[in-house]
């Protein structure tokens, strides 16, 4: 079954009708785990939903690494240089701008504009702006496609994060990684097609951000741990050697096979195949997270062994944040190399309502070097062209300082969905290009606004997928990643 041009009828027979799952027999047959001709199964009933398959048009990108800055970083202190805002620091905002606007915490009557305290400079051939918080990333300017006019329609974290990951601020929807897994399958047979790596504390959205929603659960993000066994329940129980695991699985396969020959249920074949896949994952997945084969130079480039700052700022607090984030970036490269379709790196501590200078400095220092290393590493390995890197939060932050009642001083910014920045690299995007422009204080776009759904449509296009055509019938409606009630557009300018 190919979801790209699947018919409704097929959906009902395979998705809702009971065979929905996942049958990997075809895969096993290829790898020879079954002697040829040994299985007899109902013709056409067994398909491998993770088999790689083509999209609607030629793809530029094969894999995606989405680095999600959950909590929403300040675009005005990282990417979108607004010198006018610096000049207007401390002044009231023109009423025309704030009319009818909602804030989470700002008291509108007394709020004043807050200039960035960062120094900005231009980089690369195009003269792309970065603040002094991102010196490493700035060296990749010519590979980066910056969007300064991103727009969301949500201004609370969890709904905003759902919109960014799943296309709408609603629960129970599949995330982008699930859609790509569903639409395109995986390039690797022994690993999940969609993996999630988290650093630091949990995000607002938690596991809802990598849910497969109404798609079959095989397409859900699999949470990998960067230390210890990478996948839940991956290791044999204590005291069980590999030889006995193998022997046990051999006996299990024989028992199941005998049953299959009596009742002919293709689900049994799938189950047999899945136990074999599980066994292979047991050896392959730990290799993936074993960094012992990486050179010292690579580890140094990513900053895996950088020392943590003495003072951990903000609420990140699980310790070893720097190591964890750098390791996740390196793991993402290794996974992309292994054919994983979608890697989600989630780091959630960007919600700087107060104490922003310290907090942003801490976070930016943490992510800057590993992200730059990732871009350069992929490029050097010839993988950047087919790997789409996307970085950003669920919305941006206000040009106004946050004067929440009870705050001693204004030292942070409030939620701002009206204009924020994200950047991409590789995967067929236009490098060295800055898209869109905001007004002088960064309040809203003056041209080329990009709604999150537009970005998602564009990302799918890079994978050769038409966002209007990759659909799934659910509750009587053919749903897709982008909101069916909104007319979303592919932004061609972002594509090389």
């Amino acid at each position: 079954m190919n979801p790209i041009d699947v018919t409704r009828r097929e959906f009902f027979t395979t998705a809702a009708g009971g065979l929905g799952g996942v049958a990997l027999t075809a895969l096993l047959d290829q790898s020879g785990a079954f002697a040829a001709g040994k299985t007899t199964r109902a013709a056409g009933a067994v398909v491998n939903p993770q088999a790689s398959r083509p999209g609607h048009f030629p793809a530029k990108a094969k894999s995606c690494i989405f680095i999600f800055f959950a909590g929403a970083p300040s675009q005005l202190d990282l990417f979108n240089y607004r010198p006018e805002l610096q000049k207007l620091d401390g002044q009231k905002m023109p009423e025309s701008l704030s009319e009818g606007v909602r804030f989470a915490f700002i008291q509108k009557d007394t709020a004043t504009l807050m200039g960035s305290r960062r120094k900005f400079s231009q980089h690369g051939q195009s003269g792309m702006w970065f603040s002094d918080l991102l010196p490493h990333t700035a060296t990749c300017a010519d590979d980066i496609c910056m969007i300064n006019t991103m727009q969301s329609d949500q201004f609370n974290h969890h709904p905003g994060q759902l919109l960014m990951q799943c296309g709408q601020a609603r629960f129970g929807l599949p995330s982008m990684g699930s859609w790509l897994s569903y639409g395109l399958g995986s390039e690797n047979r022994n690993l999940p097609s969609y993996v999630v790596l988290t650093s630091g504390r949990g995000s607002s959205g938690g596991a809802t951000l990598w849910s497969s929603g109404y798609l079959p659960s095989i397409h859900a993000g699999v949470l990998l741990r960067s230390e210890g066994p990478p996948i839940l329940d991956l290791e044999n129980p204590a005291g069980l050697p590999k030889s006995l695991q193998r022997k046990g699985l051999d006996v299990l396969r024989e028992l199941n096979q005998r049953n299959f020959e009596q009742v002919h249920d293709p689900e049994i074949s799938s189950r047999i195949a899945n136990y074999e896949l599980a066994y292979r994952m047991q050896s392959e997945a730990p290799e993936l997270t074993d960094l012992s084969g990486e050179t010292q130079q690579t580890l140094k480039d990513y900053g895996v062994n950088r020392s943590e700052p003495e003072k951990s700022v903000g609420r990140s607090g699980t310790g070893e944040q720097f190591k964890s984030f750098a390791t996740n970036c390196l793991l993402a490269r290794r996974m992309v190399e292994s054919g994983v379709r979608f890697v989600n790196i989630i780091f959630a501590s960007w919600d700087h309502h107060s104490n922003m200078d310290d907090g942003l400095n801490y976070n930016a220092t943490m992510v800057d070097q590993p992200i730059a290393a990732l871009i350069k590493d992929l490029k050097q390995r010839g993988l950047l062209d087919e790997t789409l890197i996307v970085c950003g939060g669920e919305f941006g932050r206000t040009p106004l300082g946050e004067n929440r009642p009870g705050y001693e001083k204004v030292s942070g910014r409030d939620h701002h969905p009206n204009a924020f920045s994200m950047f991409m690299a590789g995967g067929g995007v236009q490098g060295g290009y800055t898209h869109g422009e905001t007004d002088a204080i960064g309040w809203g776009p003056v041209r080329d606004a990009v709604h999150i759904n537009d970005l998602q449509a564009t990302m799918l296009k890079l994978f050769g997928v038409d966002h209007l055509k990759l659909t799934y019938p659910y509750l009587g409606v053919d749903l897709r990643l982008t909101n069916i009630t909104r007319e979303s557009s592919v932004i061609d300018a972002l594509i090389a």
């Binding site: 009828r9 009902f12 027979t13 809702a16 009708g17 009971g18 799952g21 990997l24 109902a42 013709a43 804030f103 989470a104 915490f105 009557d109 609370n156 629960f171 129970g172 504390r201 949990g202 995000s203 607002s204 596991a207 809802t208 659960s217 095989i218 859900a220 699999v222 949470l223 741990r225 996948i231 839940l232 329940d233 991956l234 044999n236 129980p237 204590a238 005291g239 069980l240 050697p241 030889s243 006995l244 695991q245 022997k247 046990g248 028992l255 005998r258 049953n259 009596q262 009742v263 689900e267 189950r271 896949l277 599980a278 047991q282 699980t318 409030d414 019938p473 009587g476 069916i484 009630t485």
Partner: protein, 798 residues
């Protein structure tokens, strides 16, 4: 294959209710290659069938001329709308005259700018069919699910007595006979008792129970067994979980904070008890929709309204409390639509339904039923000496909050104060043991207006206030007062003339007994939903449920499981694999993996570890640290239960929406974000990893080994006999010799290994080491029992 084959498919009465899907299916079932062959040529002369011929063609138009988009003011969703004036003034269709209809003119146009549909022109046969349809007077029958067959239809014996008049078998066998397919043989008794026990109680039969049933010579042995299982208190647990899926039950508020709700379990307990005492489904419905409005309301009625408090509550700072309230109302309406009506009315908050005849007005009229509900709270059966003080404190908090909410309408700067006080109140309730429920407000009642494109800030005041009402397509609601209220809505749902509720309900009960519903999509009886493969059977069951069964779910279950259809073997019929791959004809039973909760239950049961305690607060079995860490800022301070709490049934696991036990989510347990009447059923490698290695399942394997070893310590049993006992316990049947030989091989290899590795033996056996048994011997058995508990037959209900 020609149409005559279809005509042979047995129908009597409402032939229009056989949907296109069934029509196609019937053709495929008898080996047609091209199901459309023979239709097109006959189009001009024969009578056009709306469902099979016309609806698929209109399906190509409604994306632009439907409920969401109405380009040129043309909508093709209903006959009435198709005949309304378009932007050109005249309607697009002249009834009885295709040649004068602008619709046809545009479809046949040679001008690419004029021709419709713009991308792909219709086939000549399709155009001919459309013309014939218009010429024949534009017949547009009521959609199959919106019309109720007259009760008089079921003349004769409709009691459902076996072998007389109508019965499950009557309808199934009639359809099979027409297609010359024989039903399957009955499954053997071992299979039947395992199937029934899993379906009715979610537990395995014990070895003693199985042997007793196998040897029961009484003629009514089967019905005795059914009665015993239906009377088991575990029946309520089993079927409560089905309902909790629909109720989107969770022990936490949802969203970022996802704070615990310590009173949530009271709703679960109420559902378990209601099912155990077989509360009729109409009463069950009324209590949940409007228990608070009943004249003689009890605390149980209030707890029942917690159905609506399962909706998520956003306690994140900065949230607009009013917006979140409207979201909760929308969720409640959408959930009622899905659960009771199988209608996707949630779409209509922004626009008319894209495919179905439900409008935005219908949605907001339903919304109005719930626009004046608030959550209230009570201290139930509290012995606390501080109870009075808590009540007083709550009253004060509530008064301040209410005052501020009122002011917030005109003063938005109070939004954060309101949100903070609301959060504070929710926390207070939770800590002091209050039980929340739903209550209608009597003062300061809100007036309902439509939202422009679903935006709560843009009230469409110019369209006037919206009064509570039920969807126009369905029979009208009867109001006790001037305008209908929630209690009227509840009565309307279970009124005998409601065409949907009984049918939707029996379809789902059927689904839980066969692994798949009769009508394809139990959540969608709309135009995209698949009609039943055996429509008359579904109609009759719905009729029987209300008129013969008195809405008793136990009676309906008894009726269904008593049938030969239910008792059939589930062995796949290879000769039907091509023509009926999904067993729509019911020529056999189905076999399928049990749900995540039930896997846990039967694993613990097999291990002899399961706690049989019914009801009470949720428990905390061990949860991997990485799952706990995913909660917002790691806010979940998870402390695993000790003793009994570690071994309760899966439905009692504390369900935190942002940190779901992977042993549930990996096996398709819903995330409780929205109602989920039908679970998906996946089969993948992470499930294999969990069953092989997860702490819970491995401990069960340890317990199972212990149980087998303790069967006879002194003198001992042969390995083969012990393995046989293991089969009887876990699989419920006698093993074959070859199976024993395979497991003996494993046992032998494991013994050899552990003899040389005593430390590993101790580790594998864990805390379940049997006294007086050598660790190596014990470990060898653990290595073997874990394989039995991973067999397809163990995890499958067949």
């Amino acid at each position: 294959m020609d149409r005559s084959a279809v005509d042979r498919v047995p129908v009597f009465g409402r032939c229009l209710r056989i949907s296109g899907a069934f029509f196609l299916f019937a053709l495929i079932a008898i080996g047609s290659v091209n199901p459309f062959a023979g239709i097109a040529n006959a189009a001009e002369t024969r009578t056009v069938d709306f469902v099979n011929d016309i609806r698929p063609i209109l399906g190509k138009c409604v994306a632009c001329h439907g409920g969401v988009k109405k380009n040129a003011d043309l909508s093709m969703l209903t006959r009435e709308r198709l005949l309304a004036p378009t932007e050109y003034g005249e309607p697009a269709v002249v009834v009885g005259d295709a040649s004068a209809s602008r619709l046809i003119e545009r479809i046949v146009s040679d001008d690419p700018d004029e021709r419709m549909p713009p991308e792909e022109p219709l086939e000549p046969e399709e155009i001919a069919t459309l013309k014939a349809w218009i010429d024949q007077g534009l017949p547009w029958p009521t959609h199959w699910s919106y019309e109720l067959p007259a009760a008089e239809k079921w003349t004769g014996d409709a009691s459902g007595q076996k072998g007389q008049g109508y019965s499950v078998d009557f309808f199934v066998h009639r359809q099979l006979a027409e297609l010359k397919i024989a039903p399957s043989e009955a499954a053997d008794r071992r299979t039947l008792i395992r199937r029934l026990s899993l379906d009715l109680t979610g537990l395995l039969p014990t070895v003693v129970e199985t042997e007793a049933f196998v040897n029961d010579q009484r003629p009514d042995a089967y019905t005795q067994l059914v009665d015993r299982l239906l009377a088991s208190p575990h029946h309520g647990e089993r079927w409560a979980r089905h309902w909790l899926d629909e109720a989107r039950y969770a022990d936490s508020e949802g969203y970022e904070k996802d704070s615990p709700k310590n009173d949530a379990y009271r709703f679960r307990d109420w559902v378990i008890q209601s099912i155990n005492k077989d509360m009729p489904f109409d009463e069950f419905t009324i209590a949940q929709i409007a228990g608070d409005l009943l004249p003689d309301r009890t605390d149980d009625h209030l707890i029942a309204t917690k159905f609506h408090l399962q909706t998520q509550f956003n306690l994140e700072g900065g949230v607009d409390a009013e917006e979140d309230r409207t979201k909760r109302v929308i969720d409640r309406i959408s959930t009622i639509g899905t659960v009771w009506l199988a209608a996707t009315i949630g779409c209509c908050q922004c626009h008319d339904h894209p495919y179905d005849p439900i409008s935005g007005n219908d949605f907001y009229a339903m919304y109005a039923f719930f626009d004046n509900v608030d959550f209230a709270a009570k201290l139930l059966d509290s012995q606390s000496k501080d109870a009075e003080a808590h009540r007083k404190e709550r009253k004060e908090k509530m008064a301040t909050l209410t005052e501020n909410i009122k002011k917030q309408y005109s003063n938005k700067s109070l939004s954060n104060t309101v949100q903070a006080q609301l959060t504070n109140l929710r926390t207070f309730d939770n800590q002091k043991g209050f039980v929340r429920y739903l209550e209608e407000r009597t003062e300061d009642r809100r007036t309902t207006y439509k939202f422009r494109r679903g935006n709560f800030l843009q009230l469409m005041v110019e369209d006037g206030a919206i009064l509570p009402n039920t969807p126009a397509i369905l029979p009208p609601v009867t109001a006790r007062g001037e305008v209908p209220d929630r209690l009227d809505l509840a009565h309307w749902l279970v009124a005998p003339d409601n065409p949907l509720v009984a049918s939707v309900t029996v379809n789902k009960i059927w689904m839980h007994l066969f692994g798949q519903p009769l009508a394809g999509a139990p959540v969608d009886y709309g135009s995209k939903g698949e009609a039943a493969s055996n429509p008359e059977l579904l109609d009759w069951l719905a009729y029987w449920f209300v008129h013969e069964g008195g809405w008793s779910r136990k009676a309906l279950i008894r009726l269904i499981v008593d049938s030969d259809t239910y008792r059939q073997s589930s062995t796949i019929r290879t000769e039907l694999a091509e023509s009926d791959p999904n067993n729509k004809l019911l020529a056999r039973q189905n076999r399928f993996r049990v749900e995540g909760e039930i896997l846990r239950d039967i694993a613990l049961q097999t291990a002899g570890q399961l706690s049989r305690k019914i009801g009470g607060p949720s428990v905390f079995p061990p949860l991997p640290a990485i799952i706990v860490q995913q909660t917002y800022a790691g806010s979940f301070k998870y402390k695993a239960s000790e003793g009994d709490g570690r071994y309760r049934r899966g439905l009692y696991t504390f369900f935190r929406r942002t940190a779901i036990d992977p042993n549930l989510s990996t096996f398709d347990c819903p995330d409780s974000s929205m109602t989920k009447p039908q679970r998906s059923r996946s089969n993948n490698a992470t499930q294999a990893l969990a069953l092989l290695q997860n702490e819970v399942f491995h401990e069960a394997a340890q317990g199972f080994a212990r149980r087998l070893l303790e069967l006879s310590l002194v003198g001992g049993l042969s390995d083969g006999e012990r393995l046989r006992q293991g089969y009887l316990i876990a699989i419920g049947r006698e093993p074959e010799e070859a199976e024993i030989a395979l497991l003996e091989g494993l046992l032998l290899e494991a013994r050899n290994f552990y003899k040389d590795h005593p430390d590993d033996a101790v580790k594998l056996t864990g805390p379940h080491q049997v006294d007086d048994i050598a660790p190596a011997e014990n470990a060898a058995w653990v290595a073997t029992t874990r394989v039995i508990m991973n067999m397809d037959e163990f995890v499958t209900r067949n």
